[in-house]
């Protein structure tokens, strides 16, 4: 079921046929040999990843809907790059990214708590609490208390240090390279085209979870990168699941994607009622018509969601309400904190509830999905312990785990640069 070049496709799907791979093509291109776990186990590899991957690639750090108004900001702590990053919508409406560092002596301009801090600058300025240096939300240094006391101070050169920042479909990315080797559009390439056009910005009800996992970031990434685990690890939360088909494999430069089709599910009685509430609203029900044309190109009714891997650490699972009732899409991101610690972030996005019953139903579906994530994350620390023990030197990967094999290749390609 990996043929994307069939005549019965949706209009526009043919533009993506070159991304599709049959099982034979996947095996031919990526091989079938075991993959070494050394890059997971070796702290020295992690140090290389920091320099050659995380400081050179485009990283999603925010969404437009997190910064809806001028002056809205988010600070994201990124230990992988030794950076505190301020993402702010300026008075001109543009979203920019800066090092959250006062150019006076290096203090954080915006004090932070936790890995993400949100706030609003009502006058479109941000003042460092240390000595009161004031910066515009578009970067320039506006004022310095007791400026004459410095003798010589070129304020024009002392604006916030900007980081390359661009948006795609409402997702805000940064790149620490100065300048980046590619624009964001070039970096996303055909992935950006394959996933473009869905109204992501209309799904504004977000359920956000995070946790710190005692494992290497790739262990967490890989656990969410395949469908092979579903019948076993999710036997508790999806007991009525009659199986899945993981197919429509696509290779897209350093990125990859695939599709999860469901073969039917007997839901619990309460889930049936909550799903009925959501499905009574056309906006909350399945909207396969909103899917971009290259996703589920044959309009198969069993479509659940598209499962991509956006190099290096971001997943957008695009469902359009076809999988878990009401979920428009959900995202995962895996931020290394050090070699053996990872911040995982998972977010379920729904369209706004039309009434109180729909919001309650969203809480039910969100709980089911959150609980499935608990089952997923339950494997990660054990897996990392096992890999660190030295008991195995390789991962054995089947067809449905091709995105792990592909991600490993993409990582090695970047590390070899």
């Amino acid at each position: 079921m990996n043929d994307l070049s069939d005549a019965a496709q949706r209009p526009g799907a043919e533009a993506f046929s070159h991304l599709g791979r049959s099982l034979e093509e996947i095996r031919s291109e990526l091989g079938v040999d075991p993959v070494s776990v050394q890059s997971i186990r070796d702290p020295a590899v992690y140090e290389l990843e920091r320099e050659k991957i995380f400081k050179r690639t485009w990283l999603k750090v925010a969404t437009d809907q997190e910064l809806p108004e001028k002056g809205d900001y988010k600070v994201k702590e990124l230990p992988v790059a030794d950076a505190s990053v301020l993402i702010v919508r300026g008075k001109d409406g543009k979203v920019r990214a800066f090092h959250n560092v006062c150019t006076h002596r290096g203090n954080k301009v915006v004090p932070t708590s936790g890995f993400e801090t949100f706030g609003k600058s009502r006058a479109n300025v941000l003042a460092c609490r240390f000595h009161g240096w004031v910066f515009s939300t578009d970067g320039p240094l506006r004022s310095v208390p007791m400026e004459s006391g410095f003798g010589k101070l070129d304020k024009a050169c002392l604006g916030l240090r900007e980081i390359a920042c661009d948006s795609w479909e409402g997702f805000v990315f940064i790149n620490f390279a100065d300048p980046p080797e590619q624009s964001l559009a070039e970096y996303l390439g055909d992935f950006g085209k394959l996933f473009s056009g869905y109204p992501y910005n209309e799904a504004t009800t977000a359920f956000r979870y995070s946790t710190v996992l005692e494992c290497n970031w790739k262990v967490a990434l890989y656990a969410f990168s395949e469908g092979y685990h579903v019948p076993t690890i999710h036997a508790g939360s999806l007991p009525g699941f009659r199986g899945i088909e993981h197919s429509d494999f696509k290779l897209i430069g350093p990125h990859a994607s695939s599709t999860i089709y469901g073969l039917g599910m007997e839901s619990a009685e309460s889930t049936g009622q909550f799903a009925g509430v959501l499905h009574a609203n056309p906006d909350q029900g399945p909207r396969p018509d909103l899917l971009p044309p290259g996703i589920n190109p044959k309009r198969r009714p069993e479509f659940q969601f598209e499962l991509p891997n956006i190099f290096p650490n971001f997943l957008i699972h695009l469902a359009a309400g076809c999988g878990y009732p009401g979920i428009a899409f959900f995202t995962h991101q895996f931020w290394p904190l050090d070699h053996g610690r990872t911040l995982w972030e998972g977010i379920n996005y729904f369209r706004p509830a039309r009434n109180a019953a729909e919001r309650v139903a969203q809480f039910h579906i969100n709980a089911l999905h959150r609980n499935a994530w608990l089952e997923d994350t339950g494997t990660m620390e054990d897996t990392f312990t096992g890999i660190r023990s030295g008991a195995i030197d390789n991962m054995l990967l089947m067809d449905q785990e091709f995105m792990i094999r592909h991600a490993d290749r993409s990582q090695h390609a970047y590390l070899a640069r």
Partner: protein, 121 residues
């Protein structure tokens, strides 16, 4: 939570369940759920499930902005049931998801947000 929760007309019999289970946020409801027994989940399920169609119909007649105190209490009870039902239906009455990561280590970014907030995120 209070033991004298006002409920919409026709749902007064659920006031006791609301006092026991309802909470304004996911974090508040999780604390209740994590401390519940299999018997607690069964009692909640047996009492609430037959009333769920009526509860959802009542809540379907009001927007989040328009809810009065009584409907807000009913909403919080329904949200608690929405999150608790899988523990009876799927998890054998366990307050934890079997064979999983600890739910207490999952941090909901929206955990203290008012569950009926129109800008919930």
């Amino acid at each position: 939570m209070t033991d004298t929760m006002q409920m919409p007309r026709g749902f007064e019999d659920l006031a006791g369940l609301a006092a026991e289970w309802a909470g304004p946020s996911e974090n508040a409801r999780s604390e209740v759920r994590w401390n519940a027994s299999a018997a607690d989940f069964k009692a909640f399920y047996d009492a609430m499930m037959p009333r769920l169609p009526d509860v959802l119909a009542e809540l379907g007649r009001t927007t989040l902005e328009e809810m009065d105190i009584a409907r807000t209490n009913l909403f919080s009870l329904a949200a608690a049931f929405a999150e608790a039902a899988p523990h009876h239906e799927l998890y054998g009455g366990s307050s934890e998801v079997p064979f999983s990561f600890s739910a207490r280590r999952f941090v909901p970014g929206h955990g203290d947000a008012c569950s009926w907030a129109t800008d919930f995120r």
